[in-house]
């Protein structure tokens, strides 16, 4: 569906307003039901036994004692989840991650599970399961794991993407490359070159709601799953495949979801809960503890990135190159590949080359985390860009404006850009009052840019008009942060009725056609497109019914502002019929009125943001304080501006935590040392200032209202923006994230030492 230019000139009546969300009251009164808030009669408590070892062969599992404990109704191991993946390597990895088959591959890897009458019995039963392990050497560091001498995690892996197939297996599963031009020649034309290596540590999405589900397997072979997920249709496919069911026999209902950020796009415990329920013949509720969430779900990649950028004296970048190594956990992934695609996406470059390496480590399977892979690449690139601007003697904003990609630029990852927002966000930052505000002692200001692709995907939506003229909108994209409000606004806009007349819900997998999950910032983008199309289909029927009621030709009926209007002089005295008036008569004019839409929402417009950040660094302790933060981002068209701001602020806050505090810390024994919110510290209210936002609207040509996804890009610039601010405050270039006080202090002391 293309952008309809009539809308750019048009004054929106609903879109762009800020009403209260339809699911709001339930959420402020405690009535909303999240993953763990649902119960069934006769339900058992499920629990999972996890490997305490980073890498070990499972020699034997003896479950007999646990089975004999009174109150235990089922005990399962990998044998109860047989391999039905039929050569699908990615699904085999999902299966193995849900329940280890021959080896435990990380601290926290599931090896067995129980269902018992209560939590206490289930916990006791876990203690009675005897697992004999044969310990294997492990590796948790991305650079160590990439070496030839590293312990092998999977000896069937031979690096893909090399010119010749390697003779020996390794932990590097894939090499990928992007770019164009000739970087060697480009660097030859450079007057200044910056070359640096960077590292970022592994972080977790940190959603406050742990994974939770209730599985109910019936003896007729059908099953129900209640679960907190970003994509219940995808969970259905995956669970059905792993359990050997037809997808239609498994009905998945998505609960309210307490945060996901990518972490709830993968199945973890759900197939286990279903297998337990199948074996026990009773419903099973399985809720992860916070410890399990950290040890066995989520995290993003740890990375090691080398960047080289060259520019002429006039500030034109002549060549840019990056090598990116991303950890994937113990299973193959494409995380470095995405990093390599995004690294230089903000810039117009004649010569650019990026190479990504996917690296296996004995850590949990890497999962998507908000614009996955982009923040780390942006940290490395935007730090080097800042340094290069300094070397040339140019203002960092002007330097970026000079090199910013534009409409028609061939992006570093291949496609040619349409209308994009990188230039406008930079111009907005340049004239933003934040850039001119005075700074005090030990304070510094930094800025950085970020890019994310956005995704469209398969979408199916139903719009039903009740006989009272109210509209129910059933969507299949899970609402992670207010999309029911946005989609109701879109339906109201298109139909020309009041927002209050529309009620949006997220339908279960048996009530609606397939929908991709809420990822890639696609929720509002794709479902609004499907909602517009469904509404237009409904309007067609509304016009037909009005024509019937008036007994005139349907071509003489137009739809305006929520009313059917008879067009042409001969119908001069027919007046108009409201949506409600037509709906009331629908029983007599042909039955219910509805609009459906099934589409692939192509053309999610790429998204850019530029952030500004002021930091104070205590030179004695290395402690930092974020003083002021501003986000400028292109939304295409902000459907519900308050929730757009919320996405900008939330992403920035997560980026701030990543930049300054958050990291997975592994001991020499390969065990995670901080699997809790006390030691894995995410930003709290007193750590942050207000986060200012500025929404730009550069219409996406592929959406009828110009909408772009807004959910992810905001986490891309903060790492670099903060590193650049620290550099300006303390005179040190930070190359290792998080910039915790000891790391900053060490960097300051190294400079002091050096300048003595």
């Amino acid at each position: 569906m293309n952008f309809d230019p009539r809308f750019s000139g048009r004054k929106f009546t609903s879109v762009g307003t800020r009403p209260i969300r339809p699911d709001g009251i339930d959420k402020v009164t405690g009535r909303a039901r999240y993953g763990a808030d649902f119960n069934m009669a006769g339900q058992l408590v499920g629990r999972i036994l996890r490997s305490p070892h980073a890498h070990a062969r499972i020699v034997k599992i003896d479950t007999s004692k646990a089975e004999k404990l009174a109150g235990v109704k089922a005990v399962i191991t990998a044998a109860d989840l047989p391999d039905l993946t039929d050569g699908d390597a990615a699904m085999y990895d999902v299966l193995d991650n849900c329940m280890a088959r021959t080896k435990a591959l990380y601290d926290g890897h599931a090896v067995a599970a129980v269902a018992a009458v209560d939590a206490r019995t289930a916990r006791q039963a876990l203690k009675l399961i005897e697992v004999e392990y044969e310990l294997l050497p492990h590796v948790t560091d991305v650079d160590e794991a990439a070496k030839h001498t590293a312990p092998l995690i999977n000896d069937t892996i031979f690096t893909e993407g090399l010119e010749e197939k390697p003779v020996k297996p390794s932990n590097v599963t894939k090499r990928s490359q992007f770019g164009h031009g000739d970087v060697h020649q480009g660097f030859g034309h450079a007057d200044f070159i910056v070359e640096r290596s960077f590292k970022t540590e592994q972080t977790h999405q940190g959603y406050i709601e742990p994974h939770a589900c209730v599985a109910n397997f019936s003896s007729d072979g059908t099953a129900d799953l209640w679960v907190c997920t970003q994509g219940h249709f995808v969970y259905r496919q995956h669970c059905a495949q792993l359990l050997g069911m037809e997808a239609s026999k498994l009905r998945v209902t998505s609960s309210e979801i307490g945060g996901g950020f990518g972490g709830k796009t993968h199945v973890w415990a759900e197939p286990v809960a279903l297998a337990l329920s199948r074996k026990a013949g009773r419903p099973v509720k399985l809720v992860m503890t916070r410890d399990e969430v950290f040890r066995a779900s989520g995290p993003t990649s740890a990375t090691s990135i080398d960047v080289k950028i060259g520019a002429r004296k006039d500030g034109t970048i002549t060549a840019a190159e990056a090598t990116l190594r991303y950890s994937c956990g113990p299973y193959a992934g494409s995380w470095a590949e995405i990093g390599a695609m995004t690294a230089f996406a903000c810039y117009k470059l004649d010569n650019v080359k990026t190479v990504g390496y996917e690296v296996l480590v004995n850590r949990p399977k890497t999962a998507a985390y908000r614009a996955p892979s982009a923040p780390m690449a942006a940290f490395a690139v935007e730090s080097a860009v800042d340094e290069l601007a300094k070397k040339i003697g140019m203002d960092p904003v002007d330097f970026r404006i000079r090199n910013a990609a534009q409409e028609g630029t061939r992006s570093s990852y291949g496609p040619v850009y349409g209308p994009i927002g990188i230039g406008p966000t930079l111009e907005a930052v340049k004239s933003h009052p934040h850039m001119k505000a005075p700074l005090g002692k030990n304070q510094g200001r930094g800025m950085a840019c970020g890019f994310w692709f956005n995704f469209g995907g398969q979408t199916c939506t139903d719009l039903n008009i009740g006989m009272d003229g109210s509209v129910s909108l059933a969507v299949g994209t899970v609402d992670v942060g207010g999309s029911r409000a946005s989609l109701s606004l879109v339906a109201a806009e298109e139909l020309g009725i009041d927002y209050a007349q529309v009620k949006a819900i997220v339908a279960d997998t048996s009530s609606l056609g397939y929908n991709d999950m809420t990822d890639g910032s696609r929720g509002t983008f794709s479902s609004s497109m499907a909602t517009i199309s469904a509404a237009r289909n409904a309007i067609k029927i509304l016009r037909e019914r009005a024509a019937q009621m008036w007994d005139i030709a349907v071509d003489d009926v137009v739809w305006e502002k929520g009313h059917a209007i008879a067009k042409g002089e001969k119908h001069g005295n027919l007046g108009k019929l409201s949506l409600k008036e037509i709906a009331v008569e629908s029983g007599k004019t042909g039955g219910p009125i509805a609009g459906h839409s099934e589409l692939v929402a192509d053309g999610a417009g790429v998204s850019f943001a530029t952030h500004i950040c002021d930091i104070e660094v205590d030179p004695e302790t290395g402690a930092t304080r974020v003083l002021r933060y501003t986000v400028v981002q292109d939304a295409g068209k902000a459907v519900h501006p308050t929730y757009v701001e919320g996405q900008y602020q939330g992403g920035a806050a997560q980026g701030i935590g990543w930049a300054l505090n958050e990291e997975y810390i592994y001991g020499k024994d390969g065990r995670l040392q901080n699997p809790g919110f006390l030691d894995y510290r995410i930003p709290v209210c007193s750590d942050l200032p207000m986060i200012d936002t500025q929404i730009l609207e550069i219409p996406n040509p592929n959406h009828p209202y110009g909408v772009r996804g807004v959910g992810e890009t905001s986490i891309v610039p903060p790492l670099a923006a903060i590193a650049n601010a620290v550099s300006n405050a303390a005179g040190v270039r930070m190359t290792h994230i998080p910039m915790s006080p000891p790391r900053i202090l060490a960097a300051i002391e190294a400079v002091r030492e050096w300048s003595k």
Partner: protein
């Protein structure tokens, strides 16, 4: 294991329940009494999602035993609105979109209510430190702080 019989007051109503000696108040509320408004984000006192007020004191209900509530008063999110009249904090959270996923919201509302009861006119910094025991991963806290500021103004006027 024998259960402990407990008689307590929850949101103004007398409530009697049996629980195991090592069962937390959070588990009692959620699993025995069907009050699932308090959430378990960590179970270790680090996230505040389980916040309730126990005899005028803000506590993490995951760190209190069910049996400890004998003869005491518990206030949960379910008791915050009066019928269909929302508490000003609830109303302001909605108006400011101070929630995205909303899993932290019950905890924040309870903590904010306790904060305003003790300090009806807090500065931004006092709000930020007063709510530092509650984690929110979605909002960056900006709209939460503004909602509390706005509610404080309304409540002073009331």
């Amino acid at each position: 294991m024998a259960g402990v019989a407990v008689s307590t007051t929850i949101n103004g109503d007398t409530v009697e329940f049996l629980c195991q000696a090592d069962e937390t108040l959070l588990d009692v509320l959620r699993d025995r009494l069907g009050l699932t408004g308090a959430k378990e984000g960590c179970g270790t006192g680090d996230c505040g999602a389980c916040s309730v007020i126990l005899d005028d004191r803000l506590v993490c209900s995951c760190l209190v035993l069910g049996a400890e509530t004998e003869g005491r008063r518990v206030e949960t999110i379910e008791g915050m609105a009066h019928g269909d009249r929302l508490h000003p904090l609830q109303q302001k959270f909605l108006e400011h979109a101070a929630l995205q996923c909303g899993i932290c919201t019950p905890g924040f509302l309870i903590a904010a209510k306790d904060l305003l009861a003790k300090n009806p006119d807090p500065t931004e910094e006092e709000i930020r430190f007063g709510l530092a025991g509650n984690l929110c991963r979605c909002t960056g806290y900006d709209k939460i702080v503004r909602a509390v500021q706005d509610a404080a103004i309304v409540m002073k006027g009331a």
